[in-house]
Symmetry: C2
């Protein structure tokens, strides 16, 4: 094989380039690999992009050159909303990645345990000789997570990973999902036409839905009003699934106990590297834990996704069917075993 | 039944008195229940103690009046080291309680997740518009708990409860125990003659051993030196199981990554309500999380123990064998199903 005939793989943009280090070794094929900037302004970047056999990237639109030789566009993420499939050449496939669910489940469990196990306050006290949480003191009794009812809005990779851990703590697990869920981890399943009963059924609601026309604002003021006043809302799906104003108002008016929000309504960009995550001043509230869309971003997630992408490229080379295919919409979807 | 013939139950001391509220209802028998101070200085307290059929308490020694009518001394805790069985009348039995293991397992899992999910720092940053942990940033990659190796020193109620949760996170579980453990939750079991290999085998060591002649100082300087430098030690057993000076020196010299210590070497008393937990200045260290012996103290633990104690009193009344019997040492030990 001469150099010119080698498979051309490009990592496009800063996000995708995180997945390049060590990728050649995992792939184990004689290929050409390039890292390209988001705006393709480096010398030859435009040409490298146009001629790529495989693009690993998060954004495809009409502003970018047409990738005319493309056979596989691989998102290094689950969400592919910024990838316009109309810009893919005929016969090119779009695949995505999971592998973030274990990371997100760890984030969710840490957030769930936090109000029950006040480690920071206890540490700050004992360093000053104060034994406020000492066993034997009646007003020091902690609560337990184990007896609580977990409500999972969405039961995909993330919901399942959270359910598995929550069950080991003894929590009961309720699910609201488009299709009925039959899973020994799930105690009660609600349809999407029964969302208020679902909202009322749980002490903690974890939202892991993607952002689609159907899910936008599905957690609205009425949903939040249906929750019990002592309940906590956790959003690790996408910001707009939870109505921005309804969430802010409910927290400000303390209609629910609190929220843990990782996915937001406004994100920084090059022009504005520091920005608030919402048009409303969530930082003025003391009943919200605010994190910057971090829940899935771990070294373990990165290496699991590299394995998925490398596996799909080897399958393509061998002429085998691809896994995690998003476009063309497959009849049966086969997902990668590590995802 | 006249009033004088009713069963006389006393809760003795501030710790035991935590378990009285709501107890009569759980028990459901027509009995006489009294709460007595630790030093029995109230009017008639001395007499109530001496005539009790059942004492629920944590301390029995020769300084206290002989409970000559006693049939059952029930500790509302697992540890019975402060109860001198030589002070029990013939035919009286000593029983203990568990029900703390779920609470302690929640504490341990929260402590395990803490370094991997920096919720507090992320929240403090985002409130100022800083997105330091934002997904997509290479230097923001978190680590995961799931890939780590857990080492359980002791595999009783607490060890099992921690193992169950840790497994759901994908951790591998190593155990060091007096007797060989055969449990699908356990990947590798070490004998107590193989402690250094055990110490080297894990990324986190959780000590849940009781304090006995055999366990005192079992985690000594040599054990800590056998741990990997990135390992973390968690003690939820009893302070003296871990050698006080060896632990302090190892942390000060950063020979291990850190420690989470809940059980200590010095405790407050009435004369000294605020006191440091050790003769060494642990509060000068930044690689230890210090908590005031709080891990098992939850409302759930309290109500599970009330159920155990009430169940044993009903068994005694019916002439049935008691559960969780500590003295006389039973041939077979039956433990309460809720424990």
């Amino acid at each position: 094989m001469t150099k010119d005939n080698r498979l051309k793989i490009v990592f496009h943009g800063a996000n995708a380039c995180n997945f390049q280090e060590g990728f050649a070794k995992i792939l184990g094929l004689d290929v050409e690999i390039r890292s390209l900037s988001d705006s393709l302004d480096g010398v030859l970047e435009y040409e490298d992009y146009s001629n790529a056999d495989v693009i690993i990237g998060t954004k495809l639109d009409g502003q970018l050159p047409a990738p005319k030789a493309l056979r596989l566009y691989h998102a290094p993420a689950a969400g592919t909303d910024a990838i316009d499939v109309n810009c893919l050449p005929a016969n090119a496939q779009l695949c995505n990645c999971f592998g973030h669910e274990d990371a997100i489940a760890e984030y969710v469990m840490a957030a769930l345990l936090r109000p029950h196990v006040p480690l920071e306050l206890a540490d700050q006290g004992l360093r000053k000789g104060q034994w406020s949480y000492w066993a034997g003191r009646p007003n020091a009794l902690r609560t337990e997570l184990g007896g609580q009812r977990l409500g999972l809005l969405g039961y995909g990779h993330i919901g399942k990973a959270v359910a598995k851990r929550a069950k080991a703590f003894g929590m009961s697990v309720n699910v609201a999902n488009r299709s009925t869920v039959k899973d020994p981890l799930v105690d009660q399943c609600f349809g999407l036409n029964d969302l208020f009963a679902f909202a009322a059924s749980s002490d903690v609601i974890v939202v892991s839905l993607p952002h689609t026309q159907q899910t936008e604002g599905i957690v609205n003021a009425d949903f939040i009003d249906a929750m019990t006043p002592h309940a906590v809302l956790i959003n690790v799906g996408r910001g707009p699934v939870v109505d921005e104003k309804a969430l802010f108002d409910a927290l400000k008016q303390k209609r629910i106990k609190g929220a843990v929000i990782d996915t937001w309504y406004q994100y920084p960009n090059a022009q504005r590297p520091e920005c608030p995550p919402s048009q409303f001043d969530f930082s003025s509230l003391d009943n919200v834990l605010m994190t910057p869309h971090m829940s899935g971003w771990t070294a373990g997630m990165l290496s699991r996704r590299q394995v998925t992408i490398a596996d799909n490229i080897r399958r393509m080379v061998k002429g085998q069917g691809l896994l995690n295919c998003v476009w063309p919409i497959p009849h049966h979807n086969f997902t990668h075993s590590s995802s």
